[in-house]
């Protein structure tokens, strides 16, 4: 089920009635939330709930064993059990086809003819998110940063909590499980604020991502032609905006829905396109993933504790695997490689050039960062390296030549809205939505909110899936 659907409105309305009605005690409310979360997931593909159950059971048992076990080898054994099961799921369901394709290419290159039947593996929705979430629980318990969940119900709800189940944020156990221990109820203001964020998230997804930007991005990336300079840039800018609004929209919905139930989820996006440099970009883009990679991959790989060279290697490995996390294709790995390269170059330059950042040179540097990020999105979105290379070539050398696939209105729309997006992000670096709505007052906020509702209603898409569901 997706948030941008009529089914979800009915589903969530029923949950709110049961949650705030006088029918259930706290434990039963949690059971209801757990059951609802399975329904939320199962309405997509019921049998794949079994994977969720297995992941939940394995990490519940592993977490308890690790916590109570005193022998280091036994603790390590249970940690390995958790890692093997979760990473095994990922390896099979997400990377099975990719591994097989690469194996075939390798064998064929070696001169052997080998053509097995395709495996046709279904990618379970959100598997990358919930496996990372459950692994973080087991690792935290292993590192004695966290006590196991008090009850199986609390743990199962942590793994399955429907607002963030299929596309994050990847919530740490310490941030969410403890919220389940005491009865939660949103105040009227928190409930309304959650509703506002839910509307904002749906507006980002339905109006901005699907209506304003997806058409131009699809037209350019599916063109299969040598493109004109302006069309290539418009397509890439459109995809940059689309993926931001799509994913940030999902996270905003998840946070809003959680507020409406009285829970708090961590921020996942903080105006990333206003970032000055790539270190800041990764502190603002998909924060729950970048912090996960930092804590469970970059730091264990040595982080910055063993000199510059080791740090650069750790950084690059982290970004390469981060790229692979997004999708089973070499284009995603190359996307990670570009980000790793940017981060390393930025660290080298930062060591050599030191100057005060003010509003104007900050704007210039943020603009440069935004442009460079756009180059990386080409590899993220393109089906293959050939398509990516065509678009990059047009972005760099296609001025005055190449196929024109977008009309004047679409070009103007994309450039103007992307410009507004960039400037808004730059302005919002030091602000929050709450600060802006507070200074705007109830009338302006109400009219803006109503405008978002109106635009959502007249856009009424067909419940397009969020891009990150496939990751």
């Amino acid at each position: 089920m997706v948030f941008n659907s009529l089914g979800f409105i009915v589903f969530f309305a029923v949950i709110l009635v049961l949650y705030y009605g006088p029918f259930l005690g706290w434990v039963n409310k949690k059971r209801m939330l757990l059951f609802s979360s399975y329904v939320f997931y199962g309405l997509w593909n019921p049998p794949l709930i079994i994977l969720l159950w297995i992941s939940t059971m394995v990490d519940w048992i592993a977490g308890n064993k690790i916590y109570h076990e005193t022998k280091p080898n036994r603790r390590k054994f249970w940690l390995w059990v958790s890692m093997v099961v979760n990473l095994g799921f990922l390896a099979f369901f997400k990377y099975g086809n990719f591994l097989l394709e690469n194996f075939i290419s390798f064998v064929n290159l070696a001169g052997f003819s080998y053509e097995p039947l395709p495996m046709n593996i279904i990618l379970p929705m959100g598997i990358s998110f919930y496996t990372f979430q459950t692994m973080s629980y087991t690792i935290d318990v292993y590192q004695r940063k966290l006590e196991p969940a008090r009850t199986f119900l609390d743990f199962a709800l942590y793994v399955t909590f429907f607002p963030q189940l299929v596309a994050g944020p990847i919530v740490r156990a310490g941030d969410l499980i403890t919220q389940f221990y005491e009865e939660k109820k949103a105040t009227v203001d928190l409930f309304i604020w959650g509703l506002f964020l839910l509307t904002l998230g749906l507006f980002e997804k339905i109006v901005m991502a699907d209506t304003m930007f997806s058409g131009a991005a699809d037209a350019v990336f599916n063109a299969d032609k040598n493109l004109n300079f302006w069309d290539a840039w418009a397509g890439v800018l459109a995809f940059s905006a689309q993926i931001f609004f799509d994913f940030a929209g999902y996270s905003t919905c998840a946070i809003g829905i959680s507020y409406m139930l009285g829970f708090t989820l961590t921020d996942n996006f903080l105006y990333p396109y206003g970032s000055i440099g790539f270190s800041e970009f990764w502190r603002r883009w998909h924060i729950s993933l970048s912090s996960w990679l930092r804590d469970y991959l970059y730091i264990p790989l040595g982080g910055n504790r063993f000199g510059l060279t080791r740090m650069y290697v750790a950084l690059m490995l982290t970004m390469l695997l981060g790229g692979l996390w997004h999708g089973a294709a070499w284009t995603f790995v190359f996307w990670g490689f570009l980000h790793g390269t940017y981060l390393i170059i930025e660290r080298i330059l930062k060591g050599r050039f030191r100057f005060e950042i003010n509003w104007w040179n900050g704007l210039l540097l943020a603009g440069l960062t935004f442009i460079l990020v756009n180059f990386t999105w080409v590899f993220f979105r393109a089906e293959d390296f050939g398509t990516a290379w065509n678009i990059i070539t047009a972005m760099v050398t296609g001025f005055g030549e190449g196929e024109k696939v977008l009309g004047y209105f679409d070009l103007t729309k994309v450039f103007v809205l992307s410009g507004i997006l960039f400037l808004t992000h730059y302005y919002m670096r030091h602000h929050t939505v709450r600060m802006v709505t507070s200074s705007a007052g109830p009338w302006i906020t109400g009219i803006v909110w109503a405008t978002m509702v109106f635009l959502i209603c007249i856009s009424h898409g067909q419940g397009e899936q969020f891009i990150y569901f496939q990751f």
Binding site: N45, G215, G407, T412, P442, T445, C457, I458, S459
Partner: protein, 352 residues
């Protein structure tokens, strides 16, 4: 987006939002109604899949109609039901080749009732290619049917009453030029000529559809010659590069499927609906009857009804060269079903 203690007057904000949301949405609805729009269901993959599901549990007297837009427009379900007592299952797809549906029904169901297969020559006899526009148009719906989730079904079920009552909810996956969802309104905005596509004639919707996928030509298209001419310009634009279809390819493909269907007791009939003007000329040139239609009937051994062969089926006028008006579609259905009953292709109705 973090929580702070700043006062926001959220309850007042919410009331203002509700007020302005209601005003804007209601005004939008009245605006489009004042422009002559009425609530209508879109002919989309969701409704097609819901209809396709009915083939899974048919009874012996069931009738399934597959074809392109001509069987969609020209065979009227209420008229058919009135005459036979059986409500046919309408699975035709505008612009879509019916062969993938024929294959899907034969290969993936146990259906052994009556299949009415509409033959629009330019589509039916086109090259057998899963990448072709007409093939993939149908295949996408079949794939969606087999992959649709419970969430898809729930969303569609909930959307029906809204679409049946609100005129502004009429977006279609056909992407008509006069669709009024925000994306379509933006798509229709053109500033000068840059890509060349701006010169394509606008393709406006010329039909209404109900929950059974019964489709009727709009009165505007049937009676407003200027509007019908806009549709004619689209047909000319779509078919300016039309060439002669490959011989035997589709016939051979269909013959194998038909044999399998007949072997399990299925009853199958081909129908060639009327066309006029530009389409009639194109079809005579690119898919001459003796080389295509006659060969199809001969190779498959199936009963076929060509409009030119029956007094009651010919002499209909197609306002935009390809489809019948609602009134004529009723008459055409009546005449066609009368022939089917007379030829014992359909069982005689119990209560008639």
């Amino acid at each position: 987006m973090s929580r702070t203690d700043t006062p926001l007057h959220l309850q007042k904000t919410l009331w203002i939002t509700i007020l302005f949301s209601l005003i804007s949405v209601v005004s939008w609805e009245f605006f489009w109604r004042s422009r002559g729009r009425i609530p209508d269901l879109p002919d989309d993959k969701f409704l097609w899949a819901q209809t396709r599901a009915k083939v899974e549990n048919p009874d012996a007297s069931s009738v399934v109609i597959i074809g392109s837009s001509r069987t969609l427009f020209n065979l009227q379900i209420p008229e058919w039901q009135k005459m036979t007592g059986v409500k046919p299952i309408q699975l035709s797809t505008a612009g879509g080749n019916p062969i993938p549906v024929l294959e899907d029904i034969i290969e993936h169901t146990n259906y052994a009732g009556t299949l009415i297969v509409g033959v629009t020559p330019g589509i039916f006899f086109s090259k057998i290619s899963k990448d072709s526009r007409s093939w993939s148009r149908t295949q996408k719906r079949i794939d969606f049917y087999h992959k649709r989730t419970y969430a898809d079904r729930l969303n569609h079920f909930l959307s029906i009453p809204l679409q049946n009552n609100l005129a502004f909810l009429t977006a279609s996956e056909n992407e008509w030029a006069d669709d009024i969802d925000l994306k379509s309104l933006l798509r229709a905005t053109k500033w000068g000529v840059r890509t060349g596509k701006e010169n394509d004639p606008p393709f406006n919707s010329f039909q209404y559809l109900d929950i059974d996928r019964n489709t009727r030509m709009s009165n505007r298209c049937a009676h407003d010659t200027a509007f019908a001419n806009t549709v004619k310009r689209v047909w000319q634009s779509h078919n300016k590069k039309a060439k002669k279809s490959p011989k035997d390819e589709a016939v051979l493909y269909v013959s194998n499927l038909v044999k399998k269907f007949k072997d399990r007791g299925g009853n199958i009939v081909f129908l060639r609906s009327p066309s006029t003007g530009f389409y009639k000329e194109q079809e005579a040139k690119n898919q001459p009857r003796e080389e295509f239609w006659d060969v199809l009937l001969e190779k498959t051994g199936v009963k076929g009804y060509h409009y030119d062969d029956y007094e009651s089926l010919k002499n209909f006028d197609c306002p935009e060269w390809s489809h019948l008006s609602g009134e004529d579609a009723d008459k055409f259905t009546n005449a066609f079903v009368t022939l089917l009953l007379k030829d014992n292709v359909l069982p005689q109705p119990q209560n008639h």
